[in-house]
Amino acid sequence: MQNVLRQFVLNGEDASLPDQVLKLPGSAFAVSEPSRSVTLRRLWLDTFDWRLYRSGLTLEQVSRGGSADLVLTGRDGQVIAADHPVPPPAGGRKDGARRSRPAWPGLLDTLPLGPLRDHLGPVVGVRALLPVARAVSVVREIRVLNSDDKTIARVTADRMSVTHPEAASVPPRLAVSALRGYQAQALRVADLLAAEPGVAEAGQSGLEAVLAAAGRRPGDYTGKVDVRLAPRMPASVAMVTVLTALFDTLLANVNGTVRDIDTEFLHDLRVAVRRTRSALKLAGDVLPGDMAARFRPEFKWLGDLTTPTRDLDVYLLGYADMAAGLVAATAEELQPFHDHLVRSRALAQRDLARGLRSARFSRLGREWRQALASVGAAGGGPRPAARHTVARLAASRIGRAHRRVIRDGSAITATSPPESLHELRKRCKELRYLLEFFGSLYDPGQHWQAVRELKALQDCLGEFQDTQVQHEEIQVFAAQMMEQRAAPAATLLAMGEIAAGLAVRQQKARSEFAGRFRDFASPAGQNRIRALTGAAAA
């Protein structure tokens, strides 16, 4: 494993160029004979939403013969951590049992405990690592020597052929690595190489070059609403743009959800469905005919299909914290509850996967795509809003949603029933989604400020409702477990303690609501929303 100082690409047509360059012609340094060619299999890993790439990290598995290294590097190519990953022994496996390579995609716990996992943990979170690219490299190396015949730098020539996501070839690359303590001399070697004809500084990392050759861009997926709207765009065209992007996000997450690669696929899929439903509800009138009315029940079906698995995911993702927070009961006593959650989730996931493979889902996808495509040709619907510009549509719909949040929130008092807060949460979500759909119309700073204030209110309402839902669910789980004779008394008591904890959290969220709402509904906050939408509409 070497720390790479500088990288170059060879642009010449001449196939023998790497060999010529490796002789460092005209330099005062002596060089060793090039090593024999070594074939490496490279596999780059990242999460589906490119968390490593976005954090400036590259995780590469380099295999040679029967051995492999996982190497994490930073933006400058410096190695941050490395490991020979060996999966933890499965049940009954003894030390010395044959070690096997971790299978990708895999969650972080596929990797052994150690510095590599420690570095990846905070970035990767609950997401799985997936292969994003594969290549086969044929590598030769020379050692650059000083006048004592001591190696001071290594130069490798790497001829890479991309095998995934598509077969492609990339120009040969050179990498200069310094030996520890010989940085200055190695930099001189790099300068000499840079001056050679046909040698250019590598503007891209190895991964970027591989992906570019295969026609893919790192960071090409985001769960956010990633559309660019122009203020004067017709409202119908803008809504189709938004809905198409949401549908692309939805579809991008189907495979990962069905294969159950990690919980975030389902999360992003659900969010795409909810945003679609909100878009149809709040601005569906700009679409032609009965398009919105026709598809709203189908997207509701899809949303409902995903709810049981997601609810259980939320429980399981928070389980470790809940178990750790027990005071009277122990984590062991709670374990049967965990087993019950896992069993229930497996059943829910089976139903979900079946639903996503069903004819109904295929039909929904097909017909929705056709309907979106037809809008461009047919233009907007007959209603007046369809002939507005998107800026005007956004101002009117955001304004309306905002007024509803203010009106409903102001009506909530200390004695209001929980349902009033749940309803307000829905209104807040609608406002939030509208701000996201039309975000590209606005000044990013103002937009961020408006969303930030809303988000603080949403977090409070979310905590209030999630804890209530979980409180209700845990009672259902307890009844199910008793029915299945899977609930020892100690487990039920431990679940009672969890339920009490949820009730405390809910009360806390309730007590914080008034303050959060006051901040959101302040005259300054209201003015910000008006200024935001007003400027674009004008």
Partner: protein, 257 residues
């Protein structure tokens, strides 16, 4: 991190050859190894083709005004780094004398390298000095090359007695016979009898071989340039014995799969 020191009050007994070859063998097995050439004669530094120069000299290192980290040089061998000698090391005793707790100084300089290296070799100059006391304090195992003569056995006794009298940390001692001339009856007798009688004398002995002297021509460990030679095999046996006695855990395998 385990610290081995090659030490003897006498010079020319094979300390440097031992440190250079054992550090190479440890690195080849997968350990991350640092060799600190503490001898101003810079023989180990020469053998690894590194220039005997440390910025700020021995004074800078011992006083802590220069970081040990910055002075380390990679050798041409994977996982084997060298902290080179410097001519100013001849005055290390004076610098140590001026330092606080001179006996612990080397140990505290090495402590920050714990995460980076599994094994450290200290190649010491001959003599008894503040530097050697500091080495005795820092080392886990003293590797003591002995020429098989009655006098050198007496020296080992003196060293053992000295270590036994140390307060706190005491290094383990592993002596071994070095530069054995099989034609000399005394060499043969002593080198065969003593390991059977004393637990602190290794079973492996290093003969006097021209291949070992060739290291200064090749400027590499004999274990690297002639790995199948008799000399290389003896060093491999000695390293196996030293590693086992030190309780060094297995290196992380290179080919985990």
């Amino acid at each position: 991190m385990k610290i081995f020191a090659t030490y003897n009050i006498k010079g020319g007994v094979g300390k440097t050859a031992t440190a250079v070859n054992l550090s190479y063998l440890a690195a080849r097995e997968g350990y991350r190894v640092l060799l600190w050439d503490l001898d101003a004669q810079a023989a180990a530094t020469f053998l690894f083709r590194v220039r005997p120069r440390v910025k700020g000299g021995g004074k800078g290192l011992i006083r802590g005004t220069r970081s040990v980290d910055d002075a380390i040089k990679a050798t041409d061998f994977d996982r084997l780094d060298l902290l080179p000698s410097d001519f100013t090391y001849r005055n290390l005793d004076l610098v140590l004398d001026a330092a606080k707790k001179p006996g612990r100084r080397l140990g505290s300089l090495l402590a920050p390298l714990r995460a980076e290296y599994d094994v450290v070799f200290l190649d010491c100059p001959p003599g008894i000095s503040l530097l050697s006391e500091s080495v005795l304090q820092a080392a886990d195992t003293l590797l003591v090359p002995l020429i098989p003569t009655t006098l050198s056995v007496r020296t080992l006794d003196q060293l053992t007695e000295f270590v036994a009298g140390m307060n706190g940390h005491r290094p383990a001692i592993l002596a071994f016979f070095s530069m054995i001339d099989r034609r000399k009856r005394l060499h043969k007798e002593i080198s065969e009898q003593l390991p059977a009688q004393r637990a602190d004398v290794a079973a492996t002995a290093i003969p006097s071989l021209s291949m070992i002297e060739r290291m200064s021509v090749e400027r590499a460990p004999v274990t690297a340039f002639a790995p199948r030679s008799a000399a290389a095999r003896r060093y491999a046996e000695l390293w196996a014995e030293a590693r086992e006695r030190s309780g060094l855990p297995e290196p992380k395998p290179d080919d985990a799969w």
